[in-house]
Amino acid sequence: MFFLIFMSKRFRFGLIGLLQITILNIFAQDIEQKQVSVSTEKTSLIQFLNKVSTENQVQFYYKKEWFEGDSIALTISDIQLGRLLDKISDSRAIMWLPISEDAIVFLPKDQVATLLGNMVDMSGSKNINTVEVGKMSEAGKYANVILKGTVKDGKNDEPVIGASLRIANTNIGCMTDANGKYQLRLSPGIYEVEVSSVGYEKNVWKVKLISTGEFNPEIFEKSTKIDEITIYAKRADKNVRSNQMSLIDLDSKSIKQLPSMVGGKDIIKSFTMMPGVKSVGEFGSGINVRGGGDDQNLYLIEGAPLLNTSHVLGMMSVLNPDIVSNVALYKGQIPANYGERVSSVMEIQVRENNIKNFHVKGGIGLYDGRVLVEGPISKKVTYKIGGRSSYSNWLLGVIPDANIQKSAASFYDLNSYISWAGEKDRVSLFAYYSNDYFRYARLQAYNYGNILGSVNWNHYYNENLSSTGVLAYSNYSAEKDEIEVESESSSLKTGVQYFSGKYNLRYTGFSSHSIDGGLQVIHYNVSRGEMSPYNDLSIIPSSKLEKEKAFENAVYLNDSWNINEKISLNLGLRYSAYFTVGPKTQLQYLSNSYTEDAIIDTVFIGNNKIGKKYFGLEPRVAAKYQFNNQTSVKMSYNRNYQYITMLSYTAISIPSDVWKLADDYIRPVQSDQYAIGFYRNNKENTIETSVEFYYKNLSNVTEFKNNAVVEMNPYPEQELLNAKGQNYGIELMLKKNKGKWDGWISYTYSRSLRKAISTGSGNINNGKEYPSAFDKPHDLSILANYHINKRWRMSFNFFYSTGRPFTKPEKVANIENGNKIVLYSDRNKYRIPDYHRLDFSISMDESLRKSKKWKGSWTFSVLNVYANHNTYSIFYKKEAPSAKNNYNQFSLYKLYILGIPLPTLTYNFIF
């Protein structure tokens, strides 16, 4: 049974009530085939229908006003009634519907998309495959139904993340989520559904949507056209239409298009070519987002945080590009379901496993090699396991330096991903392990690594309600061995353990709202230092700093509200509660000056007793106004709290950096960010432009006093200063997505300033504002790809940025024994010279023949094509003694990393 309700009074029929759909089908067949004859001069349509009714014993029901003034002239003999009515309705905004053996009802087309066989057809007249979705028994039951499903790669059945679905001739569309799933709310009808994704052929289906149901389209990688390679695998107009701003989104196809760095693709470093994302130095570890430190970025892999992102001190990222399907970097407008950091969230998703076949994928480069195997275990269970290892030790042996030859360097990482998919549930297990070892001569050795694990459980309660539960574990540990002096050799261990449980519910039952809500519990366990003698001959005493423990809990709610086609809001609220847990020994000071002189007492917080508490309300608000399909403006406000910071004594983070939890004296960092952006696409979304302004206000930023020592320091508050910060900037992006030439130009003007709050001694620059180490006002990146043919591609990357700030020696003084000391300038008073570099690469992609089992691709790249000696750091040292310099003079020197064009060659394969 269905109850046909016309939503407007204007179209409410009194004569149509309860109808039986099965009967309808029978009526339809009988009455449509009834042979009728009619002949009339030009007359009104109402009179014509009356005539047909009288002559053929058929009742017609309609509202007179629909046909008033309408006329018709027909002379037809012996025609089926159905065909006659088609002739009448084809040229009019009405449709007809049999409701009994001898009754027909006319209905307006644009208001009624109801009954089977007579649906509103929005598909145009293309002759394409038609798919029927929904249950016949539910036809016409609902005014709005859900079209949902999963977009899959036809080659391997893997979900395609970020694929775009668009309903032709409408403004309706969406993108697939991290699991390749999508959901659209539509009226029943016939639609032309376009499905596309970067690197895939666009495909179109005619979908007859009867009621809520699944449609799982398969798309295939591009194999023929060369003029449609798109850089971003996202909906072409996502930047304009999406409610999200300040987001950089890369999927596996986009990653494939990225230029090569040292050792091949480097996903994390590639983000530095985007507006608002910078790196302190060439090959430095981590990234700086909108003027924040690397520790202010939350790197999440399958929900587990990655606490050190670099192999070999920043030479390459720990992220194996083969396992990644999608990376989203939120620079601002961070959704309320994310917290923990104040600058950005980088969400990294592992590529779904191949559910059809066993595959091996890998690559060989100059410094490392990698391999990945994947395939199905059963119909529901799939696996992926892979690893990467360096073999750079050979290089050390040939370098003509005694110390280097005695050195060692190696790294490896392992990962596995197992997923199980049921009808309504999906569970995945992710595990990751990385290890780095290097030793410099017989002086110092380093061993550090990450262990990550997570369990993700997705459950679909019904078409409107789904949930995601994540249990995550992350462990970063570092060991530094001082081995130069046997009697003082030592081993220092530091680390962080992180446990998290998160549960998220998503409700999409409201037509214009998409609501997320959830809660999260995080437990931190920080080992700030454990020193032990390296061997029996060492007199270094064993010592251990107390571990720091804390809980960070949060509840959140996020509503993505599409008010109408032009206006949408994103309203989020996160409430975080943080408290430290004993045992903990802490000092009490006389005043806010945390110095040795001001100590008045020592207090002890017992085991599992709660110490310091912090609570934070973190509102997240964003709005979008869409002028038209090509243009929109968005704005957002974000407040974030960060309860754990990294105490990095250097501009670029190194493995020995120690994480520190907020406590009585080191307060949580607070960030308030305001942003506004303007987005416009041209030429059918093949040209994207955007401008974003942001202003970020930071509180409780940690800065070091001069000569600060935090290693094995139980009371680091004595070495640190509380600072305020303000970061602001404008980010411009111009991107061409298609054609033989594609690429982008990204330009950012930004400032990142700090001001230490005076605590007496050791204040920085006498309390004046100064640029942070990440302050590089001008930053320009240009990427240009030229697609020579189907497989060959050339890339050019150009980078320019203002030199970063540094502190320069200004004065020099003699001390005893002929030694000199210098007086440095105010902190970060000067800048190193501007940076610019051109890279080139040429790639031969894998064979396009689907039948070929072994497929290989080559990438040859040259970094720093014109051999610019970009300044990495500036330092001073004593000149070689000569009469000219009076045997004792200091001079400034600059260090550069790439002095010559550096070639690299990588071979990737899959079979």
């Binding site: 410099y440 000569n707 001390i815 003079q889 550069y896």
Partner: protein, 370 residues
């Protein structure tokens, strides 16, 4: 070793290491700019008081601009040395910028506290922190071990070649029953003594005696004790390395010389018991001076003086007023390739720290090892 020094050195090493992995193309080159802007005068104080008889000196200069050798002495200042017994001893300017006590006016005493008062002509006031003269309650031992030292050099063909030197490493051990950490500063000089035969045609070969002073104070060398088995200990702290064959042919190549013989080294080690403030100063200075290729650009270590400007705390001051006790230790060492061990000899009078060349007979302080 001080943590900052370690960090700095680590950073430096990582830099070298990293660079050489990715490419041997990386390098350093002189950096010149003309944007340095600091016209302010920065006072440099170098002064001391010990438990040995005075006079004690304080030298006042202004720091020179970076890259310049120009030393500007500060004249006309009013300088006083104070102790915790209320004694105020004026220091008079003996030579330009050098202020001195009268020899009988004051003598440093262990356990007493001293500080300096300075008033410049422009009325700016400076004072040093109050520091206690520490005791001499410790034992020390200086000894040597054979070892090699590897380094690389550029060969005549321009290629980098590896070289190894044989020689001796000289160490110091210190022990004290004190319950508290003790801080020391080591200043050291080495005299390399050797003989060579001068072959003059028609004459008997004439042995000549040489002594050459080597400054081993490349970096300020301060060290604090560790608690070990109930004692405050410094164990096997490296003082310096001296190679067996010193390639020293300056100025005498044209003569017909025989081989080196009777080679030995006489070490002059001045062990100063210093305050914690001075220890920090020396470590900060060492961290500065050892900073090299700083790949990760650590925050510069500003060397904090124990003298501060009383008139305006934002005005920086450089230098150190050093309050210390000192022991002078002299020891001679010898080793040669066929010798199984290092020969050590205590020396009472090592002679002056001057170079002696072309001496035809051994000086009274010449150390004989056999």
């Amino acid at each position: 070793m001080n943590a900052i020094v370690k960090i700095k050195r680590f950073v430096c090493q990582c830099g070298m290491f990293f660079m050489l992995i990715i490419s041997i193309s990386s390098c350093q080159e002189a950096y010149t700019d003309d944007d340095t802007t600091n016209d302010k005068k920065v006072l440099v104080v170098n002064g001391e008081i010990t438990d040995k008889p005075g006079p004690y000196k304080v030298t006042l200069t202004y720091a020179s601009d970076f890259g310049s050798d120009k030393v500007t002495y500060v004249s006309g200042a009013t300088v006083f040395l104070h102790d915790d017994k209320g004694k105020n001893v004026p220091m008079t300017e003996k030579t330009r910028g050098v202020y001195s006590t009268d020899s009988a006016a004051i003598q440093g005493t262990v356990g007493r506290t001293y500080y300096l008062y300075i008033k410049l002509l422009d009325k700016t006031l400076y004072e040093s922190k109050k520091q206690k003269l520490v005791d001499r309650d410790y034992t020390d031992s200086i000894y040597a071990e054979y070892g090699t030292y590897d380094y690389t050099a550029t060969g005549t063909d321009g290629n980098i070649i590896k070289k190894t030197l044989e020689g001796i490493y000289v160490y110091v051990d210190i022990k004290s029953n004190s319950p508290e950490t003790k801080c020391f500063y080591f200043s050291k000089k080495v005299v390399w003594q050797y003989t060579r035969s001068l072959n003059i045609p028609g004459q008997m070969p004439q042995p000549m005696y040489f002594r050459q002073v080597i400054n081993a104070d490349n970096l300020p060398d301060a060290k604090a004790t560790q608690l070990y088995n109930g004692m405050q200990v410094i164990k096997k702290h490296l003082l310096f390395f001296v190679p067996y064959n010193v390639d020293n042919t300056n100025g005498i190549d044209s003569l017909n010389w025989g081989p080196y013989s009777s080679q030995g080294w006489v070490s002059y080690v001045f062990i100063s018991g210093i305050t914690k403030e001075a220890y920090k100063f020396y470590n900060d200075a060492a961290a500065q001076l050892s900073s090299g290729m700083q790949l990760f650009d650590p925050i510069p270590s500003q060397v904090n003086s124990n003298v501060y400007c009383k008139s305006d705390s934002t005005i920086p001051v450089l230098g150190l007023f050093k309050v210390y006790t000192q022991k002078n230790k002299y020891k001679a060492f010898m080793w040669y390739p066929t010798l199984k061990h290092v020969i050590e000899k205590d020396v009472i009078d090592p002679g002056p720290l001057v170079n002696d060349t072309f001496i035809s007979r051994p000086q009274p302080y010449w150390v004989f090892f056999n």
